[in-house]
């Protein structure tokens, strides 16, 4: 089941999350919903990201594949132009760079779609609260037995309203 707590202040949310985590709720079971990015202090609800790594790997993969591909293409059909070598890094450098960047762009975008959960809904049936301007809603997934304790934690932190919802 899900609990959805509505908060008005960022501090209250941070408080509630800390209390819930102390009570055994993992960050993966919590989601914040708001109409704008909420910056919480470090350690409250971190979302570790590998997007930079993905971007770098995508860049390396595209760049080296493109260069290797051009090497193969030019050796496969040897045409001399302007006395240049069949393959040279000078003449290929620009394409290597552009494809490296394209790899970074593609990987970043793909990773964004993946990490944000837009293409990979964790639990499809989870209720999505309507985020009103100014309000922050905290959705917690918990077992029915743990619900009273979680509700208590949220209320003490300053939740304006708490709603119990089941899978849609």
């Amino acid at each position: 089941m899900y609990l959805i707590g509505e908060f008005r202040e960022k501090k209250a949310v941070a408080e509630a999350i800390r209390a819930l985590r102390a009570g055994g709720v993992t960050p993966a079971e919590m989601d914040l919903f708001s109409e704008e990015p909420i910056k919480l202090p470090r350690g409250v609800l971190d979302r570790p990201s590998r997007m930079s790594l993905a971007s770098v790997l995508g860049a390396i993969a595209f760049g080296s594949l493109a260069t290797a591909f051009i090497y193969w293409v030019q050796h496969n059909y040897r045409l001399v132009t302007g006395g240049m070598p069949i393959f040279s890094f000078w003449a290929t450098g620009v394409i290597t760079f552009e494809m490296t960047m394209l790899g970074a762009i593609a990987a970043t975008f793909a990773w964004f779609l993946w990490e944000s959960g837009l293409v990979r809904k964790r639990d499809r049936g989870a209720p999505v609260p309507e985020a009103d301007p100014g309000s922050i809603r905290l959705r917690v997934r918990c077992r029915v037995d743990d619900a009273p304790q979680a509700i208590e934690s949220m209320r003490r932190a300053g939740a304006v309203e708490i709603e119990r919802r089941n899978h849609d």
Binding site: L79, V80, T81, G82, G83, M84, A91
Partner: protein, 228 residues
Amino acid sequence: MEHRWGMAIDLDRCTGCEACVVACHAENNLPVSSPEQAGKGRTDHWIRIDRYYEGEFPDVKVKYMPVLCQHCDDAPCEPVCPVYATYHNGEGLNVQVYNRCVGTFYCANNCPYTVRYFNWFAPEWPEPLHLQHNPDVSVRVAGVMEKCTFCIHRIKRSKQDAARDGRALADGDVQPACVQSCPAEAMVFGDLNDPQSKVSRAAGSGRATRLLEELGTKPKVFYLQKVK
């Protein structure tokens, strides 16, 4: 490389009669521009006679210089083509594949000799010239670049003839149309790989210079003139 074709042009002999230009037109199916288009500079001559004037009228000296594709060993036009429409073949010729050309104009911009010509419109010939096309040479469509080929079809024909007769290709067997028609015999064509050929000897003479040699394009057309 079996052959390395080159040409020598003796500027001291050239009279600027333009017989080579006419011969080239007839040989290579060059379209005939209308007077209006010619006025705009849209003429199509794979070989042209550049005129340089020295002195003031009436004491003028005119120098003629036949300029054709120099078939550079390091041709600047080749690497810039995105579709390999122009590249270097095994006999040192700078070849143009009309059917592959999409018309980016880049080669023509990068040719320091300005010897590349473009088909601005579909080619036209005034009657009865349309009946005298050379069957060995393709007619180019609108939108492609073209230029001197050193009469590559004649090179091929000569090689075939020599092979059929079971003999080696001799010096002078291949003659492009311009060389053949030059009344002053100012032009020589042949194999630069053969040190005994006429063109090799001309290229080795003290009178030989190459056009815009300082660019490092390594042209294979040698101009002979008295060094003052």
